[in-house]
Amino acid sequence: MCDCCQKSDLSKLTPVFEAFAGDDHALISILQKAQEIYGYLPVDVLYAIAEKTGASPAKVMGVATFYTQFRLKPVGKNLILLCKGTACHVNGADSIEKALVEELGVGDGETTDDGLFSIKTVACLGCCSLSPVMMINEDTYGSLTPAKAKEIVRKIREASK
């Protein structure tokens, strides 16, 4: 399906619009809530937000593409956030990324064909003393080695079967 004829259930946005009614500066908060609902920001949702908030579609798109938190495509069931902050870099984040790419066959910003994993590198997860570190969904994994990272991903894959 192409982006222009996408049909999202826009009624899910109603409570979000109600919560931020009258707040002219809530665009980012609305986009965050919308992403929580849909898992990403479908184009028709962006149009709906533009119409409701009175912002131009160009402005909504501009904000949605400015911030790294927002994504315009769906992500896999398990989102791997790989930290590439300074401390993680010094402690070998590149080798962890290489190991994940080897194990999953996809790189930064991509999703595996089975829809199980997406990899995203991030600037800093704010837990430098655990470096190198990655988060998979809500869980944080620290003091990684390439072998350990592969093992963690394999276990999640086994558990999903």
Binding site: I28, K59, Y67, Q69, V90
Partner: protein, 394 residues
């Protein structure tokens, strides 16, 4: 460390903000928290609700006639939003692009109203200073930098973590005293201070006092309070490339010098780490650094050259080794690594030849093997596989 303050003592922030709001007569306040710190947001929400329940926040606080509300705004992942005017733009729901200053936020800030904007750590100090007096705070620290500061000590250090120290201790005190020195028997090479916009300070400046002025003189900054320790295995050119990769991606794109300059610098640094550097590259980098410093509106652009300038200043020999000899002294840059098997150590077990993904290793059983440099892709599998430590990286 701001994350630690919000997660472990959110009321110190709330109290500091309320005192500041009272002082300037503000009735609305925001805490802008990175969305990557969900626990900080949850705990701050609870603390705000608790404060409201006790009438320490909200309407007519403790019957004083003063009202102030604090709201949380979750950031959306843009480094530049640490710059005050970019943060204000983001608060207003816009792209986080810095404004022209003046007017400064104190004149025209959030929704063009006069605003006071401060860091979490600053607000968290306010209540302590009022309780104990300014003299007690000023008794700690140096002539130009008073009080204490929290640092995130990390990298190749034995004991990492958050450390709060009085200003004026030396870098050596913190890294070798508190941090216990370099881990895994390594040797100290540099400490990177102040986050991606900071600078790298070499060993001969380890006795530099930690205060704003002394750190500034080294080319580094206090910045975020990041203190990343590096050992002899860290290539300083690659480190500069790493930081420029970050700032080039995080540049908001408003100022041409920052948007394009950081990209060009990243390209040049990448070229150098790949052994394709040219004579004059260092001078070109320095020229770009000066251009960006002068031509960028905000702190991100003005400080983005710091990692490059400081590594050139203190580690020029590493740049020259990459450019003139296609050699990485720290053996970190993959493209410049050379793998060789020491025939004296090699037992001819064939393990490395089996592991090599491109068949670059040949040799007979029980006889020393050799690596064909033309085929080698420098993946390092042979080093990881060899049980006799016979593969050397040069």
């Amino acid at each position: 460390m701001d994350r630690a303050v919000i997660e472990s003592d959110p009321h110190s922030l709330i109290e500091g903000m309320l005192i500041a709001a009272y002082a300037i007569g503000a009735s609305k306040a925001f805490v802008y928290v990175r969305a990557e710190y969900p626990l900080a947001i949850v705990r701050l929400e609870k603390a705000l609700a608790d404060a409201k329940a006790h009438n320490l926040l909200g309407e007519n606080i403790l019957g004083s006639g003063f009202s102030c509300d604090i709201r949380i705004k979750a950031g959306a992942g843009a480094f530049v939003c640490g710059e005050e005017t970019a943060l204000i733009e983001s608060l207003e729901g816009n792209r986080g692009m810095p404004r022209l200053k003046p007017p400064f936020p104190a004149e025209k800030g959030y929704t063009q109203a006069p605003s006071n904007i401060n860091n979490v750590e600053t607000f968290a100090n306010v209540a302590w200073i009022i309780l104990n007096g300014g003299a007690a705070f000023a008794a700690m620290g140096t002539e130009t930098s008073k009080g204490t500061k929290v640092f995130a000590l990390t990298g190749k250090i034995k004991r990492g973590g958050l450390v709060e120290i009085p200003m004026g201790l030396t870098l050596r005190d913190v890294i070798f005293g508190i941090g216990g020195g370099i881990r895994d028997g390594g040797t100290f090479k540099a400490v990177q201070m102040g986050g991606p916009s900071g600078g790298c300070i070499p060993e001969h400046l380890l006795d530099t006092k930690i205060d704003y002025k002394a750190l500034g003189a080294t080319g580094a900054i206090m910045g975020s309070g990041g203190m990343v320790v590096m050992d002899s295995h860290t290539c300083m050119v690659n480190m500069a490339r790493f930081f420029l990769d970050f700032t080039a991606k995080e540049s908001c794109g408003k100022c041409v010098h920052c948007r394009i300059g950081t990209k060009r610098m990243h390209e040049i640094l990448t070229r150098i780490t790949e052994g394709k550097g040219k004579e004059g590259d260092v001078e070109l980098l320095q020229d770009l650094c000066n251009g960006i410093k002068a031509g960028a509106l905000c702190g991100l652009g003005q400080t983005a050259p710091n990692p490059v300038l400081t590594t050139i200043r203190y580690f020029r020999d590493e740049y020259d080794a990459h450019i003139r000899e296609a050699r990485c002294p720290a053996h970190e840059c993959a493209a410049l690594k050379k793998y060789e098997i020491d025939p004296a150590k090699c037992k001819g077990c064939t393990m490395c030849a089996k592991k090599c993904p491109v068949g670059a290793i040949s040799g007979e059983l029980k006889k020393p093997h050799v690596i064909d440099p033309a085929k080698c892709i420098k993946c390092g599998q042979c080093v990881a596989t060899c049980k006799f430590g016979a593969v050397a990286v040069k």
